[in-house]
């Protein structure tokens, strides 16, 4: 495929605009996503545990674990990703422990947020900072 000088420059500008968009948009959507999950309720600082590595060499697979005593569901958000939501873990009546672990993608060094909805209707929140050496979203 051959591009003229002008076309190449245009493509570069387009790519830059695409990269800039999600970063600018995410700050407000995180608050909205939290509000949607909690319904605007207050969150306690204790009661949920989020285990994540301090430094992740490869952002493509970052092992994380969440647990919260008596939680009915746990929401995980990656605040620095183009799409911040990571997943929601909902525990059924036969869940042996209110915990789960998985592997996620992180685009860059950022803060992870976990919010647990407890069975008594209250919410708990925690966060963890993860340093990412190689980003995992291929932007």
């Amino acid at each position: 495929m051959d591009f003229s000088r002008r076309e190449t420059f245009g493509l570069g500008l387009g790519a830059l605009a695409l990269m800039a968009l999600p970063v600018g948009a995410s700050a407000s959507t995180i608050e909205e996503m939290i509000a949607e999950f909690t319904g605007g309720a207050d969150m306690a600082d204790t009661g949920v545990t989020l285990t994540a590595p301090e430094i992740a060499e490869n952002g493509n697979t970052v092992p994380i674990a969440v647990s919260a005593e008596g939680a009915s569901s746990i929401l995980v958000l990656a605040t620095g990703n183009p799409t911040p939501s990571v997943g929601t873990f909902t525990f059924g009546p036969l869940a042996g422990a209110r915990s789960a672990s998985t592997r996620i993608r992180l685009a860059k060094t950022q803060e992870l947020v976990a919010i647990a909805k407890l069975e008594d209707g209250t919410f708990a929140r925690t966060s963890a900072e993860v340093k990412v050496t190689i980003g995992g979203c291929g932007g």
Binding site: L11, T83, V86, F91, G92, A95, G96, R103, I104, G138
Partner: protein, 109 residues
Amino acid sequence: MAEGVTPRVKVPKSASAGEVITIKTLISHQMESGQRKDDDGNVIPRSIINRFTCEFNGENVIDIKMEPAMSTNPYFEFDATVPEAGDFKFTWYDDDGSVYEETKSITIG
């Protein structure tokens, strides 16, 4: 993207009644995040597994909603209570409408 999707699940063969066991699941899947671009600069459309559930004899153990931030070959580890002998049923729901299922039996003893 529905080819080459293989679910793998690790469940103990037997447990004592009421025991809490650890289950590990992994399914091979590209989990295209919708953020990457191909060689020509076009965005590769999102194609992920968006939901995973585990049931034991029809009763829910865990239900996970997945977003593009899940890694390739999504892996989960969680605990389940085994009240009686029966079957664990694992279900993955793909963006393209495919459903992948796996069943594992467990005995009491």
